[in-house]
Every structure is written in structure tokens, then in C-alpha cells.
């Protein structure tokens, strides 16, 4: 299937001479939730801003739903909704007025039914006549999401959507994102919170210092790069790890009743069978065991470290 967004050889050098993006190539599939993951300053906002028309690219091109974002900017932009990172709203307009304004700006005729639906979904309906300046930060962010959804975009960008957002809003937001995805909207979000990408995304792209390090199905990424940990709860208590088990690199918990074994799922042999045999031979019995997948956080840290070295 043709990608809904296709970024090719995109570079950005700011007026300061700083190279914020270096030859980015990226395809976004129609209907997916794509998480762009990277530390602060990686270039996430720059990339999104170029696609949305806020920042001029230095080199390369972007095609959105078959339309070049520069030559055919009207068609491209009318399909895109953006919730920017910074909380910037009007102040003295009402919620209803500002959201309706956005719809008009994006070239759509008035549609109070749609605006009402969006406001209700974002729990903004009873605030529709309030001036924005009277709203809390969380409510203002909802307003920004409502503005981005006002013109029924096919592609939605969320730049750090949950930075500084309370739990309730985060939950509401994910619900909205999922229901949007169910209606076929493609969602691209940036985050430096791993859990967010882990919970929400279908695919994850990792960006660092202006370069895409990798793009992977989330599950595949977890599988490929995830180290797993096997934790054994012992029946007795160990003072030290017996010499015969040294080669497994086990870790003994402080109170001596848990052993942790780390293994790599990428390896052909995980070493679990040998470990269990050796434990048995050493006469160590256990009550229970769990395995735990590494979080993306750990994956990410090791990826970035790899890139640096």
C-alpha cells in the first residue's frame, strides 16, 4: 500500500547553521499510530513542523496523501491536523469560536454538529462558551486538540501530547486517539516517554541528533532488541552465589531469596536450560519464576549509546 506520508532525503539547517535534520527517509502507513521517539533536541518538532508547513525544509521532499507539501500545499495541509508541543492558544475567544475558526481556516464550511462531537469527546462541551484564558492548562490542551480535529483531518500530528498533562487527560487523549485510529485516521506522535510509545504505537521510529536510527514494528523492536530477565524466587536463602553458577552472571537480591538471570532473546540460545540444570545440580530449589521484557527505555538508552560509540 502507498504510504500516507513519505519523507525523502529531508534535511534542515537552521539559520544558525545548526543541522537539525540529516537526510531523513521515512514512510508512514495509512491508518497506523506511529511514535517518533527521541530525546530532547533530537529534531522531532523540526520534522513535524516541516511536514505541517511551519518550517521550510533545506533539502528533500515530503508527500502527504499523494500531495507534495510545497507544490501542492493546499491539498496536503487540508488533510493534516497538528497539535503543537507548546501550549499556545488565543486568550479572549470562546472555546466554540476558536475551534470553529480553525475549521474555517482549513477551508471547511461550518458544521456545528461536528464541532459539538469533537468538544463532547474531549469533555469540553460544558466549556464551549468559556473564554480560553479562564481554562486550566489541561483544558487548554484539549482545546488545541479540538482545533486540530475541527476540520476532520486524515492525518493527525501530536507533538509531545502528554508532556505536563494530568492522568485523566492522558487517559481521555488515548481514548480519542484510539477512536480516531478506528475511523482510519493516521496518527503520528512524538514523545520522549518510552511508555507512551510502548502503550500506543503500532510502529516506532527512533530519532537522535537529527537522524532516524531505526524504524520498527513495536513488537518486533521489543523482540529484536529486548533483553529479558528471568527472576527465580528461591525456597531457601543464599548467602552467595555458588561457584558452579558463576558463568551465568546471576544477580542475587539483597535478602538472598531471589536470583535474576538476564538473557538476550536475539541469541540462538538463551541459556535457560543450562541454567536450570545447573541450579538443580547445585541443589537450589525455587518456589516461583517470572520473565520480564526490557522496557523501551532500556532499549533506547542502549541504542543511543550504540550510536554514540
Amino acid at each position: 500500500m502507498q504510504p500516507i506520508i513519505s519523507v525523502s532525503h529531508l534535511s534542515k539547517t537552521y539559520a544558525t547553521g545548526f543541522k537539525a535534520l540529516k537526510d531523513i527517509n521515512l514512510d508512514i502507513r495509512k491508518g497506523e499510530i506511529f511514535a517518533l521517539l527521541g530525546p530532547n533536541g533530537a529534531g522531532k518538532t523540526t520534522l513535524i513542523s516541516i511536514i505541517c508547513g511551519i518550517v521550510n525544509p533545506s533539502e528533500g521532499s515530503v508527500v502527504a496523501d499523494g500531495h507534495d507539501i510545497i507544490k501542492d500545499y493546499r491539498a496536503a495541509r487540508s488533510r493534516i491536523g497538528l497539535v503543537p508541543q507548546e501550549l499556545t492558544t488565543d486568550a479572549f475567544e470562546t472555546v466554540w469560536a476558536t475551534v470553529s475558526f480553525s475549521r474555517g481556516l482549513f477551508g471547511k464550511p461550518k458544521n456545528p454538529v461536528h464541532i459539538e462531537k469533537v468538544l463532547r469527546e474531549l469533555s469540553l462541551w460544558d466549556k464551549k462558551d468559556s473564554k480560553i484564558i479562564t481554562l486550566s492548562g489541561g483544558m487548554k490542551r484539549r482545546v488545541m486538540i479540538a482545533k486540530a480535529l475541527s476540520h476532520e483531518p486524515q492525518i493527525l500530528f501530536l507533538d509531545e501530547p502528554t508532556a505536563g498533562v494530568d492522568v485523566e487527560l492522558r487517559r481521555d487523549m488515548w481514548e480519542v486517539v484510539r477512536s480516531l485510529r478506528d475511523t482510519g485516521v493516521t496518527i503520528i506522535l512524538t514523545t520522549h516517554y518510552i511508555e507512551e510509545a510502548e502503550q500506543m504505537a503500532d510502529r516506532i521510529g527512533v530519532i537522535n541528533q537529527g537522524e532516524i536510527i531505526l524504524v520498527e514494528e513495536k513488537a518486533e523492536l521489543m523482540r529484536k532488541l529486548g533483553k529479558k530477565q528471568l527472576t527465580l524466587q528461591l525456597q531457601g536463602v543464599l548467602e552467595t552465589i555458588p561457584g558452579a553458577l558463576e558463568k551465568h552472571g546471576l544477580e542475587l537480591s539483597q535478602d538472598g531469596d531471589e536470583l535474576t538471570y538476564t538473557y538476550d532473546t536475539q541469541q540462538e540460545r538463551t541459556g535457560i536450560t543450562t541454567l536450570l540444570r545447573d541450579l538443580n545440580e547445585a541443589g537450589i530449589r525455587f518456589r516461583d519464576l517470572q520473565t520480564k521484557q526490557n522496557s523501551l527505555e532500556e532499549i533506547f538508552v542502549s541504542l543511543v549509546r550504540e550510536q554514540r560509540s
Binding site: G53, I54, V55, R77, F101, S102, K147
Partner: protein, 253 residues
Amino acid sequence: MNFYAIRAIYLFEMARTWRTLLQSIVSPVISTSLYFVVFGSAIGSHMKEIGGVSYGSFIVPGLIMLSLLTQSISNASFGIYFPKFVGTIYELLSAPVSSLEIVVSYVGAAATKSIILGLIILATAALFVPLHIEHPLWMMLFLVLTAVTFSLFGFLIGIWADGFEKLQLVPLLIVTPLTFLGGSFYSIDMLPPFWQKVTLFNPVLYLVSGFRWSFYGVADVNIGISLAMTLAFLAACLVAVWWIFKTGWRIKV
């Protein structure tokens, strides 16, 4: 053309006007009234008629021009500068609107506001002095042309400005002096010959003179020259806007 966008921006800007009614309409009306009290009544009573027009009536077109110029510039410059300042410009930049549509809607709204204001001042003036308008259509033409031209000029300032100081600078240092020295409150016949020549370099003179002609049929300079100068300034602003958009939108990095 994205007409929905033009309408949205235009109505948004006009809503700002109604919201700030006091500041946008009432304060110019009050300051104009003060001009009438000071120049029209206090000083004007000691002035002789100019070209058969009482001094109080004589200054009306100049006063309207003064407000029209300063208000057009400040409305239009603020209208585009403010979104840049608070960051809401992101939405405008990411919207499917062309530069032309942006200019038309912002400048249109600013000009509308100044025209309304000009007419309000005219009505206020009618309370103080006898007024008659010899060429009402020309009067409206000059009003609209001036409002549009200086709203364009204000728009340019709003794009150029990267701080509130710059936003104030041009109106304060250039436009207000030019207006005062452009024959708003006197006929250039009253100046010594040398200064008459200098004044001819002041573009505002032509606006005020043409506008006054539409009221009383008397002018410092030929009406044709006035119209030509007004159109020339409009053309200059259009070229500047075109150049800005051609060489790159200053607010986009």
C-alpha cells in the same frame, strides 16, 4: 481561493475589534474631540478662514486622515504581530491558505475597522463644526484607498517587527510627524516658500490635500497629483508585500 479561511480570519479580526471597542473606537473619538476643543475652538477662534473655510471645518479632513493613518497601521501591524508573539501563528502557517489570502483577510479587516472609525470621527466632527462634503464619492474613495494602503503598510511593519518597540517605532517616529507636518492643521500656503518646497516631499500632504478637496473643493496640490501619489504609495506597499512573500515569509524559519 480558500474563501472559508478569508472569512474566518476576517471575522476573527473584526471580533477582536468589537471586543476591544473601548480602545478601538472610543479612544480615537475622545482624542478627536479634544483636538476640536483645542485647535477648533480655542485656537481656531483666532484663526482666519482658509480658502473660505472656517478653521474648525478646515482641520476635519486632516484629523480624519491622522486617525486613519495611525489606526490602519496599528490595527494591521498588531493583527499579524500578535499571533507571531504568542505563537498562535503556527495555525496560520499550517493552514491551506495562500499569502494572498492572508494579506486580503488581515488587511481587509484592519481597513474595515479604520474606515468605520473614520466615519465615526466624521460624525463626531459634525457635532462641533458645520460640515459639507462636496464630492462624497471622492471622499469615500480617498478614505478607502488610504485605509487599505496604510493597513498594508501596517501589515508589513507587523511582519518586520520582532518586538513591541519596533511595532511602535514606525508609527511614532515617522507617521505621526509626517501627518502633523503634512498640512493636517494648516494650509501649506501659510508656510515660508522654502518649507513649502520641503513639504512637497511629504507623501501625507497629498493624502490630506486630496481628502480635503473632496470636502471643500480647495486643495494645496492638484487633485490628480493627490490621487496619483496615493495610488503610488499603494503600489509601493503591494510591491513590498509581494517581495516579502517572494523572498520568503519572514516569520517562517
